[in-house]
Amino acid sequence: MKVSELVQSTGLAAINQYQDKEIESVYISDMVSDLIASAKANSVVITLQTHKSLIAAANLVAAAMIVIVNGRKPSEDVVALANRTGIGLFSYDADSWALAKKLVKLGIE
């Protein structure tokens, strides 16, 4: 499934312009060091974090997109860094578990 298809199926709100690419995995974490050690390339990264550190870590692991849950919004400098890395940033109103259930229903595991 591509990023654009996932956005349409789950109602994610795009925060920046994103590159449409194939999603291969999902990783849920609120620790940036954990992301580097465990997230796979082309992952959907689901997190509560809105810190710049998140983008620096997601860039290193070649994440496909970042979804910030519970309706949280990152600051402008975080969005600017995401734009530099080409990583799509999205906001989701409900929590990580609600989004995880949707992803499983869509066949993404």
């Binding site: 060091s33 954990d34 580097i36 465990s38 810190h51 550190s53 890395t85 080409g86």
Partner: protein, 173 residues
């Protein structure tokens, strides 16, 4: 020259704490990895240094293993990575940052003792393996990163950048 075109993957993942210390005498900072949940908070003297506990945070450490030749590179001497936004032309890292094109970023691998008083920093083989590992992941996306050791920074404590650390993640900045 190494005959193997390495296929690095992460191994030996270790969960613990990054404990940061500050020296009252020289103003230097250093950090260590601890698997213990309680950091040492007593001040102590070590040669000319007088170290005191500064902060700690949860962290994850790992090594890299090549799936082709079986070689493992120990990354014990990497205590963190920082995305550099240095704009100092007189700093080797800053000069490198300003040379980068779109989609290319520079990360500084931070060693345990950023005063470099012992002359040690992140090993060359560690830097080489990190570069190869991250580049292999990012190349299909048309992105590039360069990882450099912190000894190339004029001052890692004053350097402008974003540390990938699980501390201050709920701060305003």
């Amino acid at each position: 020259m190494d005959p193997c075109t390495h296929e690095w993957s992460i191994c030996n993942v270790r969960h613990g704490y990054l404990v940061e210390e500050f020296c009252y005498e020289c103003g230097g900072r250093r950090s260590s990895f601890s698997a213990e949940p309680l950091p040492p908070i007593d001040k102590y003297r070590e040669g000319h240094h007088y170290w005191a506990y500064l902060a700690s945070c949860q962290t994850v450490k790992f090594d890299l293993k090549c799936g082709a030749c079986g070689r493992t590179v120990n990354l014990n001497d990497v205590n963190g990575l920082m995305l550099s936004e240095c704009m100092d032309r007189d700093c080797q890292v800053g000069a490198l940052v300003m040379q980068q094109g779109p989609g290319a970023l520079v990360y500084v691998a931070i060693c345990p003792n950023t005063t470099h008083s012992t002359g040690k920093c992140v090993s060359e083989e560690g830097i080489e393996a990190l570069n190869q590992y991250f580049q292999a992941r990012l190349a299909p996306a048309g992105r590039k990163v360069t990882v450099v050791p912190c000894k190339l920074c004029n001052s890692i404590d004053k350097c402008r950048g974003t540390s990938i650390a699980d501390v201050g993640l709920t701060d305003i900045v």
